[in-house]
Amino acid sequence: MILTIANKEFRAILRDGRALYGTIVFALLGVLALVTGAIRFSELDAERLRAQEHVAEQWRAQGDKNPHSAAHYGQYAFRPALPLAFFDPGVQAFEGVSIWLEAHKRNFATGRPADDAAPLARFGELSLAFIYQALLPLGILLLAYPAFAAERDSGTLRQLMATGVDGRRLFVGKFIGIGAAVLVLAAPVTILALIALVVATGTRWLAHATLLLTFYAWFAAIVLAASLWVSAVASSARSALLTLLAIWAVAVFVLPRIAGDLGRIIAPVPGAQRLQAAIERDLAEGIDGESPAAKIEKRRRQLYRLYKVDDDRALPINMQGVIFGIQDEISNAVYDKHFARLQSAVDAQIDLYEIVSLLSPRMALMLVSQELSGTSVGAQRRFADGAERFRRRLMATLNADITLHSRNDDPAYRAGADLWRSAGEYRYEFEPLREALRRCGAAAMVLLLWTLLAGAGGLLAARRLGSNP
């Protein structure tokens, strides 16, 4: 019985001219987004690889100089473009693309692509993720709204129920039939995207992509079940359509914006001015009750005792290298404190976003999609934290060289290519899939709750069809 109903729904949709037009529009938009996304990804990838190599070459070829001059010269870390960014660009446009790794300071990433965006950029980006998150649900609800409501309007539902059909079986049959049609309609663009990914990068990202598609299919199933639920309880097809369109507009476009700004109001991110002032204050005064000058003096006395001397010039090591090391220890602790505060404010905002996603599964899917595409806030943080770890290792190497290989008050000291080579160059390491998945827990829970709600609500409404068709 279920399969018969499913088959009837499936065939009816495929025969409907509107579904065909919808598929053509969906496919055209999908191909447009795919092509432009792929071109953008390949250009960015090549550009960043070139820049990273260029900077590494500059570092190696900087010539002989004092290691502290080299520390200020520093290196640049360029954020890599991950292949699935062509599917979901996520927050990439709103995060800086490069970080200057220099002595004493942890810099923010600079060069946000959004700063150069065209005036209409904030209307939305035509990416595959946007099409699947916003337009696919619209297509689903347009297919599903008449499922029960139109049959009720025309009187066929009453006839059907009079034959003793179980409403729940009817619900499941329609769900399978419309769901199969949606899969067929969305298949061309999806398969094309997968082929493009495999051709460009081999099978390296196939697991990510498969998981991503699974989440999108899960989301589509939720939307379909919810649409059928509304169709089952609506007084007419017109009412079902208007209700679903209103829910779609609010859930897809309005709630994400409200959640974002609500987060800003409840957990504001410290402003640049306040953050900088707090960092400068802590750098000057220290954060553990001991001033930087006192720390340096304490270390100096320890070294005097160790080497049994009473003057910097008598030390077998360069005290200035030690001082740079202490300054870096202090600044690292200060930056850790303030970056942690900044990140916890952002985390609180994202937590709130996850809570509001209880009202909109699209928001939960958006978070999962960005994580699996490597374009989330978490992925950017991983890049920045990795760059910072490298910066600290780099500075420690350069300070150690000054300490061990030069003498106090010896500005003529020069290090060369050997040191630059041994200090190394920044290289990004891709994040394992399981780490990205770990950040998807809350969003996956929201999708699970929506599955239970839409499924149970739909089946309950369908069961009541028998008593009140």
Binding site: R18, T36, E47, R48, V55, Q58, G63, K65, H68, S69, A71, H72, Y73, Y76, G90, V91, A93, F94, G96, V97, F108, T110, G111, P113, A114, D116, A117, A118, P119, L120, A121, R122, F123, G124, E125, L126, F130, P146, L241, L242, A246, A249, P256, R257, A259, G260, D261, R264, P268, P270, G271, Q273, R274, A277, Q349, I350, M366, Q370, P411, A412
Partner: protein
């Protein structure tokens, strides 16, 4: 007849609740915009106050002969910064546009301009990516939905209920009846829009001035033209054959196309026709310029461990060090200025092309007009950036003249420091700029009305499905 139609309209609960929901969202969005603006204003005022206090304190210290306060180099590259604040304009809280991406205040030093302009306030990229919940968003995106809900069955509904056939049989002119119905609903929608704008300004603005009144009128006129367009489009859809459901689906597709897809497609086109110069390459070029400048000063700079003149003593040493820093900064500025100009000219090209293409989307046309009226459009931001660059040049010149001339700073010099004036805004001028957008919206609406007028003369009063029977 208008009175009768008005009383019928008031009895439609979904429209009443839709209008109430819209007004509530507008109030919420205005409050949100005001909160954002106030927090930015408080931060800017704090920064300005702190900057003034620092300059006053340094002026006193300079009078007392303090070495740091009298050293133009120490002041230029560390102790003194100019806090430049973007003056908030009337209506800014209502259309945030891209302004949340740019800090409303910056701290400039005499270092190169890129260091000042590349700095962006740390923020939650997810929030920036989903966009602002501002009044412009609510009205541009959601007003059409309310209009569609009020108009989608303006003719087909009457036909399906048999009212139209009855009217024709009774000898009434169907077209006159429908025009009055359309006019009543259009006026009611415009009334709701003006009420929404009044609420937005009452909640979002801190005070009522002549500028506020001009902004209110401007927003009201622009949005009235926007409502007129949507009402005309809904009527044009209705004069064709088809039932109410079909009209609802077609109008929903029109909303999707004109409000979401076309602006996104225009953005995509503009971005591809005029791609922004690469920020990644800019970072690499800046690094090359820095390296070239450092190489030129390498011999001198290593004497001070690059940027630690404090490790050596003597006024002559310090003055020489800062002369070398000023020379480096000048070289970097000269090298990087053409690149920064390329960003600005490309941004101007993008704005120009977007303005030409935006006429394809009434939503983009309306949003552009609203940002113009609120002084948050791209041109206003470019004017501000240009003013910042001019000021930065004055600031740098002030200090470099004293560094190069080896002239110590005096108390009077601190009083003569250049001050920044935010470019003035004029609501009346903005109103004139936005008038083209209004005329375009009215012209499209009028053309649709003419088309409807021609079609209404040969209108079918009987629903299509009944004709065959």
């Amino acid at each position: 007849m208008i009175g009768a139609e008005w009383s019928l309209l008031r009895r439609e609960p979904h429209l009443k609740w839709g209008a109430i929901a819209l007004l509530l969202l507008v109030g919420l969005a205005a409050w949100n915009g005001r909160m954002l603006l106030e927090s930015r204003t408080v931060d800017a005022a704090l920064a300005l106050q702190e900057s003034r206090e620092t300059i006053d304190a340094l002026a006193v210290q300079a009078a007392n002969g303090n070495a740091t306060a009298t050293s133009p180099g120490a002041a230029a590259f560390g102790a003194v910064s100019a806090t430049i604040v973007r003056r908030s304009a009337t209506g800014e809280a209502l259309a945030i546009g891209q302004t949340d991406l740019e800090a409303n205040f910056q701290k400039l030093t005499a270092r190169n301009a890129y260091a000042a302009l590349a700095a962006s306030a740390p923020d939650n990229a997810l929030r920036l990516a989903v966009g602002n919940f501002d009044v412009a968003f609510v009205l541009v995106w959601l007003i059409p939905l309310l209009v569609i809900a009020a108009f989608f069955d303006i003719i087909s509904g009457e036909r399906e209920r048999g009212v139209l056939a009855l009217a024709v049989v009774a000898g009434a002119a169907a077209s006159r009846y429908l025009w009055i119905k359309w006019l009543t609903r259009t006026l009611a929608s415009i009334g709701v829009t003006w009420l929404a704008v009044a609420i937005a300004i009452a909640v979002g603005e801190r005070s009522w001035t002549a500028e506020t009144a001009i902004t209110l009128v401007g927003w009201g006129v622009v949005l009235s033209a926007y409502v007129f367009f949507w009402a005309s489009l809904a009527l044009a859809c209705n004069v064709g054959r088809g039932n109410s459901e079909r009209h609802a689906a077609v109008l929903a597709a029109a909303w999707l196309t004109l409000v979401i897809l076309l602006p996104a497609a225009i953005n995509l086109l503009v971005t591809n026709v005029f791609p922004a110069p690469s920020r990644v390459e800019l970072a690499a070029q800046l690094r090359e310029a820095t390296e070239a400048a450092d190489r030129a000063a390498a011999k001198d700079r290593d004497r001070w461990f690059f940027d630690h003149p404090d490790l050596r003593s003597g006024e002559a040493e310090r003055a020489a060090y800062y002369r070398s820093v000023a020379a480096s900064e000048r070289m970097i500025t000269d090298a990087i200025t053409p690149q920064l100009s390329a960003f600005e000219s490309r941004a101007a090209e993008r704005r120009a092309l977007t303005r030409r293409l935006q006429w394809l989307s009434p939503a983009a046309t309306t949003h552009d007009a609203l940002t113009i009226l609120s002084h948050t459009d791209g041109a206003s931001q470019a004017t501000f950036r240009a003013a910042v660059l001019i000021f930065h040049n004055r600031w740098q010149t002030f200090f470099f003249e004293r560094i190069d001339g080896d002239r110590l700073l005096t108390r009077d010099d601190y009083a003569r420091l250049p001050t920044f004036e935010s470019p003035p805004t004029s609501s009346l001028r903005s109103l004139r700029r936005a008038s083209t957008n209004v005329l375009v919206l009215l012209a499209i609406g009028a053309l649709l009305c003419i088309y409807c007028g021609m079609r209404l003369t040969r209108l079918d009063a009987i629903p299509p499905q009944q004709e065959g029977g």
